[in-house]
């Protein structure tokens, strides 16, 4: 078994038995569920809205090369610079080169899964550049030295008491602050950081081809402030975040807000289409957009898995997943956790090291049910399993066992040849491990149906 797989099993087993963890998660997801129910009321016809969203993303990927060129052309016209990065290392090198050119020591960053994907913070820290997370949830996680637990709600696994304790320990605040007071503490601390930083880094929820714009949605205002004072704004974004037209936002903003947090629309929905223009008094002097592939064209190549690129990272499938709720976001050991993480990570980071995630599902299909862009998530998990077998990523022993199983069960003669006990022995020998410690192996009847039938008719 791959080392990632065994550590995944170990961590999952531990978390699944952690009742405190389950309580916090159920509490938070319960609140989310109530909010989403209310948020969905804003759609007169939700099914059509989701179907349309899926069509738009489909169209975006159909013409992805042209849209990317159009985006580049439009952004460049207004003074923005576009950089292409084939993989994580190239993205990191480009960012470092910009930092060096600007003699940057301090960066403010708003929430971005793409920067998590390339492990930007630890890379910059190695080069003595401080990169501060400004989204409250991410700020909490950074204080605690942990990666985000969830793609939308990074500190979902912490209770308010946990956060108060953390602030007390790291920032010296009184240990019993309320969420209001804690937010205020972060607000004050971070306001200074916005003013001091030389560079602001954000992700993008969408990139828009027809206007050459970068669309960012947020509730807190930190992404806006992160890009207000620093002289340089860097955007790191995956190429699949493309929308053909600004008009598509009319559907995607409300959809993302509702499925992400249950809101009708998020508080700030900004569009950046270039650095400060002539005659404007503020805003960054330079804007770079790094378009990152990092495995995405692999997914595009796979005609089945392709639709996983429609994902708008709303987190809805995580919240709906019985596996996620029991083992928690950190057990996956990946940037993207939950059902969609299990679908894309084997493609992004290698089948061999991450295929085990495709089995971390009961295939109940709830993820597919709640996905705003109607990705067939559970079928894609099954597809990954297929692919793993076809491309020989499963163990030789497992293949042998199934081969034996197939031969035996296709042959009436062989089935009748041996007794139930022998069959049980066979099961134990070859399938007990795959079946799992906590499930009982099925038991064979001592005589086969065929034998019983014959005996009766005598």
């Amino acid at each position: 078994m791959h080392q990632n797989a065994s550590s995944f099993l170990e961590k999952s087993e531990k978390k699944a038995g952690d009742l405190g963890h389950r309580q916090t998660i159920n509490f938070n997801i319960g609140k989310y569920n109530t909010a989403v129910k209310a948020g969905k009321q804003q759609f007169a016809d939700l099914t059509t809205a989701r179907e349309r969203a899926k069509n738009i993303k489909w169209r975006a990927l159909d013409n992805l090369d042209k849209h990317l060129e159009e985006f580049e052309q439009n952004l460049t016209k207004r003074g923005g610079k576009v950089i292409w990065a084939e993989n994580a290392q190239q993205a990191l090198d480009e960012i470092l080169a910009i930092c060096k050119a600007k003699q940057c020591k301090s960066i403010v960053k708003s929430k971005s899964m793409a920067t998590e994907e390339v492990h930007l913070n630890s890379f910059l820290a190695k080069h003595d550049i401080e990169c501060v997370e400004t989204d409250l949830g991410e700020y909490i996680q950074q204080l605690d030295g942990e990666p985000p637990y969830h793609i939308v709600t990074p500190a979902m696994h912490k209770s308010k008491e946990d956060v108060a304790r953390l602030f007390a320990e790291k920032l010296g605040t009184p240990p019993d602050l309320t969420p209001q007071q804690l937010t205020l503490v972060a607000r004050e601390k971070l306001r200074q950081k916005y003013l001091d930083a030389e560079i602001g880094i954000t992700g993008a929820n969408f990139i828009i081809a027809d206007i050459g714009g970068v669309a960012v949605t947020e509730n807190e205002g930190n992404a806006r402030l992160s890009t207000a004072f620093p002289k340089t704004h860097i955007v790191l974004v995956g190429i699949e975040k493309m929308l053909p037209s600004i008009n598509d936002l009319a559907l995607f903003w409300p959809l993302l807000a509702t499925y992400g947090t249950g809101q009708n629309v998020t508080v700030y929905n900004s569009i950046f289409s270039g650095p400060r223009q002539e005659g404007e008094t503020d805003g960054p002097e330079e804007m770079y957009v790094i378009l990152m592939d990092n495995g995405r064209t692999n997914i595009l190549m796979d005609t089945e898995a392709r639709e996983s690129l429609y994902c708008i990272r709303c987190g809805s499938c995580l919240n709906a997943c019985p596996v996620y709720k029991n083992i928690g976001g950190h057990s996956y050991g990946t940037t993207y956790s939950g059902p969609i993480g299990s679908v894309i990570t084997p493609h992004l980071r290698g089948m061999e090291s991450y295929i085990h995630l495709s089995y971390a599902s009961s295939l109940c299909g709830n993820c597919t049910e709640v996905c705003p862009v109607r990705i067939n998530i559970h079928e894609l998990l099954l597809h990954n399993r297929h692919k793993a077998v076809e491309e020989n990523y499963t163990s030789g022993g497992e293949k042998m066992s199934w081969f034996g199983w197939k031969q035996a069960s296709l042959s009436r003669r062989m089935m009748n040849l041996v007794s139930g006990n022998v069959k049980n022995l066979f099961m134990k020998k070859f399938f007990a491990k795959a079946w799992g410690d906590d499930r009982e192996l099925p038991v064979f009847a001592s005589k086969s149906f065929n034998q019983l039938w014959k005996e009766r008719r005598k």
Binding site: T24, T134, E220, L225, A228, V267, T281
Partner: protein, 194 residues
Amino acid sequence: MSSREQILAAIKRNQPEQQELPVLDSFRHTEAGDPAAFRKVVETLGGQVYEITSYTEIQPLVAEHYTDVTRVVSIRPEYFPGAITGWQEGDGRQLEQVDLAIIPGQLGVAENGAIWITEQEIEVRVLPFITQHLAIVLPRTEILPTMHDAYARIWSPSAGFGVFIAGPSKTADIEQSLVLGAHGAKSLTVFLIG
């Protein structure tokens, strides 16, 4: 080959066949948006709405409803006579001490309470975010039913920055409990004029 060409070539190689897809015009409306509906949504977002008929009503309303406001920036002098002048000078940091900013909005969306603002009206991009409190003056006639109607109208290619603002800044990152005033404005007031 450069990275750009590598990536574009990989996409060309792998992307699906072209397909015709339907147009999405059916969400568009021709009638105006309902100010009462707009008001209701803004209030649920944690904002306040005052309906006024003349700009002169703004100043007394501010005096009545804000207790902690002394430094006021107003985009148009007629909104708030005696507001700070010369606030545009500087790189934006000078605005850190502003208590209340009063700015015009281009249009509002009745279905979700979002108000569209661009760089052209606000002059300084950071103003609506750095101020402690935000007030937006919006003509009643500029309310549209849905986000689709709004997008059919908004984009002026000369603006480098535009934003939809819906309510005051907030977060629910700690145990999903809602806190108003995360990093941006702590409160939002809308003056509907006309």
